[in-house]
């Protein structure tokens, strides 16, 4: 935001000036009206002159102060006005706190993609997108507060919510069906929500933690030369000790029984700045592969620690939330060779990117770079925002080109079908994989791909690896059924 300082100042100052002058004039008129007599007016003019001078001084003082504040902070003196036919999307972001390294590119990505759609196409089929950010610090309590604050904004309320936090997603899942606001938790949140029969309002395509963990095991098998070679291998899972980090554990355990590898589970407590003990344990256990579910500061620390115990980096694989630029840069050369899963390309040379540069930043590449343009998480958010926009577009095909309610957008999410052709139209051919959501399958079990950090950028180093569906799907259905009985939900039939 710091880059907008100059513009906002030049924009804001005249606005403020005009406002203050208006106030001054109003007061003059008011006072003149009160006194009809000539003498009164004369004295009044003197009074107003002096008060006018006083006001001017005051105004200058206020302007100076405001100018200083604006100069320092980049305050924008415009409030977003939500008009009738605008699609409102709430944005729960975290630009502060220990998770800010991950949160900032995410927040910027959403903002830029929606702005690009508004500037390039004039919105989705003419319906402008409006959005408002609310700071959550990745804290579930603040997340719920933000959700409550934003869910009824806009002409039709929130169209869908992207919590970008598994903890907050967990909190919002029960509320979604009551408030009729669909949740798009793209590749995070509650894995069991992949069963659309129980979780009507929650979507976690293109793939989930469990699918990802199984795909990771398949990738390891490929590297080790076949599934039979997994037997006797030791795989460690370093995870954030929260609902998020624990998600992959059941799958890794189930697969460990199936393939006979030894699983070492190592929890790292929030926020993850202290990991000496964890990596000592890894040094002692000498696992063949380390899989990590980290977020925010935890990633940087883990990669640094791994480098310091000289763990072979090409056997250290993060999940897709542990593989952005902010995670590897602090470890410098030590991070070279570190791998992570992803489901889209890490590069930013697709037509959609040039559209963002053109329509959001007016061709200013350096400014875009300062706004996390091109980082892995930024790219991922582009995919996420694209899903949201396309879901609204799909729903518009059924309900007409107007601002849609959450319930209508939910239909759009459930009937979302992004084909290879559509990706090409949007300038994302090869950027990510096609997705087709259905009523019973909110996950679609999309494949993952492994990227590797070469010291300066991420490169794709594997083919698309598909998850082990036959193991994951029954587990999803079992977990969803348990949730349904616990909360008295009657599954839909699809």
């Amino acid at each position: 935001m710091a880059d907008f300082e100059r513009e906002t100042t030049s924009m804001a100052i005249p606005l403020l000036k005009r406002r203050l002058i208006l106030i001054e004039e109003l007061q003059l008129i008011d006072e003149v009206n009160c006194h009809d007599s000539l003498i009164g007016q004369k004295t009044l003019i003197i009074i107003t002159k002096t008060t006018g001078r006083y006001f001017k001084m005051l105004r200058n003082l206020i302007l100076m102060l405001l100018g200083a504040v604006i100069g320092i902070t980049g305050v924008v003196a415009t409030t977003p006005v939500v008009e009738a036919d605008e699609q409102f999307i709430p944005m729960l972001v975290y630009r502060t706190g220990p998770y800010a390294p991950s949160g900032i590119p995410v927040a910027n990505g959403f903002r830029d993609y929606y702005t690009m759609i508004n500037n390039r196409d004039g919105g989705i089929n003419g319906v402008k997108i409006t959005f408002e950010e609310c700071e959550t610090e990745y804290n579930t309590k603040l997340g719920v507060e933000c959700y409550e604050k934003l869910k009824n904004k806009g002409s039709t309320g929130a169209s869908l919510v992207n919590p970008f936090s598994t903890g907050i997603t967990y909190q919002l899942i029960p509320k979604a069906s009551v408030d009729e606001v669909p949740i798009l938790s793209m590749g995070y949140g509650r894995t069991a929500a992949a069963d659309g029969r129980v979780f009507k309002w929650v979507f976690n395509f293109p793939t989930t933690y469990w699918s990802q963990a199984s795909a990771f095991i398949r990738y390891v098998a490929q590297q080790e030369g076949g599934e039979k070679n997994l037997k006797g291998k030791k795989i460690a899972h370093v995870y954030h000790n929260s609902a998020y980090g624990k998600e992959a554990n059941p799958t890794l355990q189930a697969l460990s029984k199936k393939y006979g590898y030894e699983l070492v589970l190592l929890a790292v407590d929030h926020p993850g700045q202290e990991q000496k003990a964890t990596w000592l344990q890894i040094r002692r256990a000498k696992p063949d592969w380390v899989f990590m579910s980290g977020w925010g500061v935890m990633n940087q620390v883990a990669i640094k620690e791994a480098a310091s115990i000289r763990y072979p980096m090409d056997h250290f694989v993060g999940n897709w939330w542990s593989g952005s630029d902010a995670d590897v840069v602090p470890a410098a050369a030590g991070a070279k060779g570190y791998k992570s899963a992803t489901f889209h390309s890490p590069t930013s040379d697709y037509p959609v990117h040039s559209d963002i540069i053109k329509h959001v930043y007016g061709g200013d590449m350096s400014k875009a770079k300062k706004n996390s343009f091109g980082e892995v998480l930024y790219n991922r958010t582009i995919v996420n925002a694209m899903f949201a926009v396309e879901a609204i577009r799909t729903a518009q095909a059924k309900y007409g080109n107007r601002a849609l309610t959450g319930a209508e957008v939910r239909w759009g999410l459930e009937n979302l079908n992004i084909t290879e052709n559509r990706l090409k139209e949007m300038g994302m051919e090869g950027f990510t994989k096609p997705v087709k959501v259905s009523c019973s399958d909110h996950e679609t079990g999309g494949p993952i791909i492994i990227q590797q950090w070469d010291g300066s950028k991420w490169n794709i180093v594997s083919d698309w690896v598909s998850p082990i569906r036959e193991v994951v799907r029954p587990m999803v259905e079992k977990a969803a059924a348990a949730y349904a009985t616990e909360n008295g939900i009657k599954p839909r039939s699809c």
Partner: protein, 358 residues
Amino acid sequence: MLYRETGQFKISYAADQSVFPIAQDRWFVSLIIVVAIFVIPVLASEYLLQAVMIPLLIFSLAAIGLNLLVGYAGQLSLGTGGFMAVGAYMTYKLTTAFPDINIIIVFLLAGLIAAFVGLIFGIPSLRIKGFYLAVATLASQFFLLWMFNKVAWFYNYNSSGTITAPPREMFGVVITGPMASAETRYLVTLFIVIIFAFIAKNLVRGRLGRSWMAVRDMDIAAEIIGIRPFQTKLIAFAVSSFYCGLAGAMMVFLWLGSAETEAFSINESFNVLFMIIIGGLGSILGSFLGATFIVGLPIFLTNAPQLVGLSMPIDMQKHIEIMMFGSLIIFFLIVEPHGLARLWQILKEKLRLWPFPY
């Protein structure tokens, strides 16, 4: 002129011993309660109820609990978050195991279990005092959270370790779970808090409260006049943990809807401790004032720029909020080290003399 007790004669012992001996206080508190019950649920938006009022009441209850222990009995504790977690996880276990038991009874049972846990962690208080005791109770905070994270039985073996409030009814109205309206949850919270605030108020005026204060002020002297420090301190721990456990249960079931151990982290313990320090140690009113300050102020500061029509980058707003909040805490502690409750007391004394101070 408006606020003075002149002319209010007590003609019975009961009247003399009433909770609020001055008629104006009685009216004022009744007015607040009437407004809280009848006006707020009608006028307040869902956001105000869900994000401000319910957490404010729940943290008030937790603050009362900690105030009994720290403010009245003088035993410094940092285990509040842990005891709140006991209440929450026990409510979850009990209500999923016995879905037919009324949820309010489950709350109370969970509170009793929390009281028992508090009793055990209170044992060291006989030997160690002050800051050393705070460190000992810190152990309970970490141990309890570790246990709820580690032992899958506490969260019914689900994969994420999250507990979720299932829907529970009372008199045909859903009061927990996602289907419960914010108004219902607010009213249930309010009734529980009113009842337990009155119990606490009476507790500290009675024999038990007096013995707590005696132990707080000088435990050797208290022992000499016949108060058993061991029992007194343990009862303080038990009662305090009961309140905290109840607040923890309400936090998950009436406010958040679901939670993991992170919701009861050491930060919550500190928050509740700050509430009673800012509100006023050894004051029930102070617990409410402190909770209002700590819960309400950040929300007010977050929304204030928008209320005056300024919109600024969200991260900047958050940083300003943190700075303002910190400076306000320092300001209040310098202006009135005895807390907001003391300010209220001074105000009352001034009111008594008004408009002819001498």
